[in-house]
Symmetry: C2
Subunit: 340 residues, 2 copies
DNA sequence: TATGTATGTTAAATCGTTTTAGCAAGGTGA
DNA sequence: TCACCTTGCTAAAACGATTTAACATACATA
């Protein structure tokens, strides 16, 4: 097990100082007037022995890590997994690596993760924040650390964010149901105060109200295992026998909802029309195929990483905070088609 | 933006040496005979000012990072996302953090990732290795770094691994099809030499051969976009008109396969029986529901993290390499039921 | 000759920890 | 009194990079 080389080993082997090696390795040869001959010699040697500087030592000295901390609600949620994958790629292409972690929407855990990331000197943060974390993020921001929020934002906190127009997305979806003749439109969401959930609910309520209809909202507990969700939904459907359509406010609610509907034996769209949030292979392949509110995952990832890279590069130049709001797209499929 | 405290600041404030603070913070107070009074005073102060040691500096000095590097094929594949999620949790509970990255099955990229992880001094590696990476992993192992492979292994390399019994899983699945009267059984896989794919193929071939049937194997290119896969599968199904059943060797092939079958207008299981790999909400909810070879994700994650923690703790005590092989489970659903 | 300036390189401080080796003061036994 | 423990603490050297400030040397200018 041979010891890893250090910059000093290189310097000794070549009978020069470690400073010189460092300058060359950091592309400061010109600036520091190192002779071309020496530069070439060092570069060749470094290449030959496959030397790579220890990034810990570098980070310790410079305070920079070239690492971005990514905190999503749960990496096993396909929406977040896809975003993470895209962000990872784009970051990688720009010389950054990603440390990710799932917050589980748990404030304490998130707080700990932020602390860990800070200790590790990550250069920037990408966060889909849980409730109750606003102070921690505020203190990050006021410490001058680049932060970009996505999927939801924190009202009252001036920080870059990327979200979709949640209000408009459910508003349009519900209008679409109404247009095709539905009147008893249910809305299944989680009991979360996060902005994206509140906005989705508000969009639903607005559409319902505009048409003088009665709302039928079911909020299930956050962070429940699917079996429990299904039990609650079953009870809801049993109670609300008149529903002719239903909108699910998240992808996992949609999946549990479809299982529930199948268990109960309701017919889609004959008995009930369905619209789900986030597109998914499952919704496309389902029989009947399920109408979905599709988030522009690619654009979200793009916007997020661009905002962050901007902050990272512009350094301290205090650009105004940006709040990017992207449109979602209603993909109409069989589950919401057909006359009444 | 106030500067972060260092252990030296603490020491100065209390008029003691940083050594003492370090000893106390690392639980060596007893061993180093620091007086209880002082221990208490330091602990209180540290708590009050919320000091947390800089883990970069610590890692630089100790060579340990309490970080595990996790490299999966792609985090957007639900199988890997789930495993990653579980591993992350278990690692977290044991004081370890995870840095993950997707390899894309790209050898070069994987090599770079390993290098990055080494630079960052990760304490251990969990890898679902792409082809052609055996030398790099061998050199990790021979450097005494804890490594656990999963999902596949590298023949000829003596290193801990966790896999499922891929051979047995497809063997049984195909036998099941034969038992229910199928004779023209197709097998869709990818053109990969990775062990898990080869074993799945071998299990299929063995069952086919035992019954004197003719194999119908289609290998699609690795790393293709779904649209292309579907195009190839369409051609395959058009050519092999006699197929009465099909086994998909991965979850994403299953999904593309189902889309293809739907496009072509084949009836499941009337025209064709279907068995897919990896269970998935989609397979459960599909109409008809799809029989799936379900990997024990929880047990896999458990085994992986246990093996790794073992290595990490036992230190240099050279325990014999372990190769855990877990059974997969055939979940029989409607897509493979019904008489001929 | 003295002064300035461009060129090429480096010594040493620094980042914030851990760890080795050892110091001072007080007690104990002979 | 001397030699030797114990107790309680600390100085200083790592870890491996970056960066500041400076040092020679050569050459040109006045």
């Amino acid at each position: 097990m041979k010891k890893r080389l250090s910059i000093l080993d290189i310097a000794n082997s070549l009978d020069i100082s470690s400073t010189t090696v460092s300058f060359i390795l950091n592309g400061k040869a010109k600036e520091k007037r190192i002779s071309d001959k020496l530069v070439e010699k060092v570069e060749k040697y470094v290449e030959d022995v496959g030397f790579r500087p220890n990034s810990l030592a570098r980070s310790l000295r410079t305070g920079k890590s070239n690492i971005i901390g990514l905190m999503v609600e749960s990496i096993s949620n396909p929406f977040f997994a896809n975003i993470a994958r895209l962000i990872e790629n784009k970051a990688y292409n720009n010389g950054y690596k990603i440390i990710y972690s799932s917050t589980d929407n748990d404030t304490t855990r998130t707080r700990e993760l932020i602390r860990m990331f800070r200790e590790r000197h990550v250069d920037g943060y990408i966060i889909s924040p849980p409730e109750g974390i606003v102070d921690d993020i505020a203190s990050l921001v006021s410490a001058g650390v680049p932060v970009v929020l996505f999927d939801r934002y924190l009202p009252g906190l001036d920080v870059d964010s990327v979200t979709i127009d949640n209000f408009e997305s459910t508003y349009k979806a519900v209008k679409d149901l109404i247009r095709s003749g539905r009147r008893n439109i249910g809305f299944i969401t989680v009991d979360s105060l996060q902005t994206q959930m509140q906005d989705r609910l508000a969009g639903y309520e607005k559409a319902i109200e505009e048409h003088g209809l009665a709302p039928h909202v079911k909020e299930v507990d956050f962070n429940q295992i699917p079996e429990k969700v299904i039990r609650h939904l079953t009870a809801f459907f049993r109670k609300e026998k008149d529903l002719d359509s239903i909108v699910f406010a998240t992808n996992y609610l949609g999946i549990s909802g479809l299982k529930t509907i199948r268990n109960i034996g309701l017919n889609i769209p004959g008995d009930i029309s369905v619209i789900a949030f986030d597109d998914h292979d499952l919704f496309e392949l389902h029989n009947p195929s399920i109408t979905a509110i599709s988030q522009p995952v690619d654009e979200i990832a793009d916007a997020v990483i661009n905002l962050l890279l901007n902050k990272l590069n512009k350094g301290s130049k205090p650009r105004k905070e940006q709040n990017v709001v992207l449109p979602a797209h209603l993909i109409v499929r069989d589950s919401s088609k057909g006359a009444k």
